[in-house]
């Protein structure tokens, strides 16, 4: 029995032709140029990864609160919500809070027996960009800024950054002197 073979249907030619290739190559070249010149992302496109070592002061903490147990080396520091790791503690120094007092016509600083200041040095991976500073995630790390930090089960509101260092390989992590 003879079978009739249907004539092949004329399919549209979906293969890319020279014009498509030309456009794609042009597009890629344009993207590459734009990326290299920073046309889209600007200087912020180039970031240097490294380590930031910063010191925060936890000021006027009541001496009756046993904070030392939360502030130990290696303890992970998080942001207020616990959603971002701000680094790990590498050094802690505690000092009695100094209270200014007028004695004999002079201003003297008297160590408080009620309050303690903690200088906590934290180290973290970070990204440094020209004009955008040093950031851990979205958080900019700059001396003079304050942030809410969580040290395990201890929370401190308004921890003030007093020193920031971009970690170079030749330096060892160290606390900043607060004599």
């Amino acid at each position: 029995m003879r079978q009739r073979r249907a004539a092949p249907a004329s399919k549209p030619n979906k293969a890319l032709n020279w014009f498509d290739f030309f456009l794609i190559i042009l597009f890629l070249l344009c993207t590459l140029t734009a990326f290299l010149t920073g046309a889209w992302l600007g200087d912020r496109s180039v970031g240097e990864e490294g380590r930031v070592v910063y010191t925060v002061i936890l000021s006027e903490i009541e001496a009756s609160i046993n904070v030392s147990s939360y502030l130990s080396d290696g303890e992970i520091v998080k942001n207020e919500n616990g959603t971002l790791t701000m680094g790990e503690i590498i050094a802690v120094e505690d000092k009695a809070h100094q209270v200014p007092d007028a004695r004999g016509g002079k201003v003297v600083f008297v160590p408080s027996s009620e309050y303690v200041d903690y200088y906590v040095t934290v180290s973290s991976n970070a990204v440094r960009r020209k004009g955008d500073g040093i950031r851990i995630g979205d958080v900019r790390i700059a001396a003079g800024d304050s942030m809410h930090l969580r040290f395990g089960a201890f929370m401190h509101y308004g921890a003030r950054i007093i020193h920031v260092r971009w970690e170079e390989s030749e330096y060892e992590a160290e606390t900043i002197g607060h004599d």
Partner: protein, 156 residues
């Protein structure tokens, strides 16, 4: 001979190409504009009272200061520290002392700012007026502080 019509991909690529081109041209134009605005320079003294001394250690001479928007403000030429005063009142008497200089100090930065001088005002980057007494929120790479403009000099 077959006639070829532009497909969706072609149209998409052409639109993206056009947008890229416009973006690059605009960007180059903006950069050019920035450059032409800076025809003068001046030295601006900015002041901060009771600054954290260890924070000032994080600033370096020659470093660029940036505004909150990320625009360059000027380059640090000098950092001058002075003792920060503390005033207490006891029994109606004023008692003046100084903070420990390791903790707090008053700081003055001399910053070289580029811009345009119109005969009355110095416009930083040709746009932002430098006015004595104006507060500035400035970032260096590792420091964020609020400064007050103290003086403008050496306009050239």
């Amino acid at each position: 001979m077959k006639q070829r019509r532009l497909g969706m991909i072609d149209v998409f690529l052409i639109v993206v190409l056009l947008l890229s081109g416009i973006g690059i041209v605009l960007r180059m134009h903006m950069e050019k504009e920035k450059g032409t605005d800076a025809v003068n320079s001046c030295t601006v003294a900015i002041f901060a009272r009771q600054a954290f001394a260890s924070g000032l250690d994080c600033m370096e001479l020659g470093e660029m200061l940036y505004t909150e928007d990320g625009n360059a403000f000027g380059r640090i030429v000098d950092i001058v520290r002075a003792p920060a005063q503390i005033v207490l009142y006891t029994d109606g008497r004023e008692c003046v002392g100084e903070w420990d200089e390791q903790a707090y100090c008053n700081a003055t930065l001399l910053v070289e700012v580029l811009g345009r001088y119109d005969g009355t005002l110095f416009l930083q980057a040709g746009r932002y007026p430098i006015i004595v007494g104006k507060a500035l929120n400035l970032y260096s790479e590792r420091v964020h502080m609020t400064w007050v403009i103290q003086s403008v000099k050496n306009i050239s």
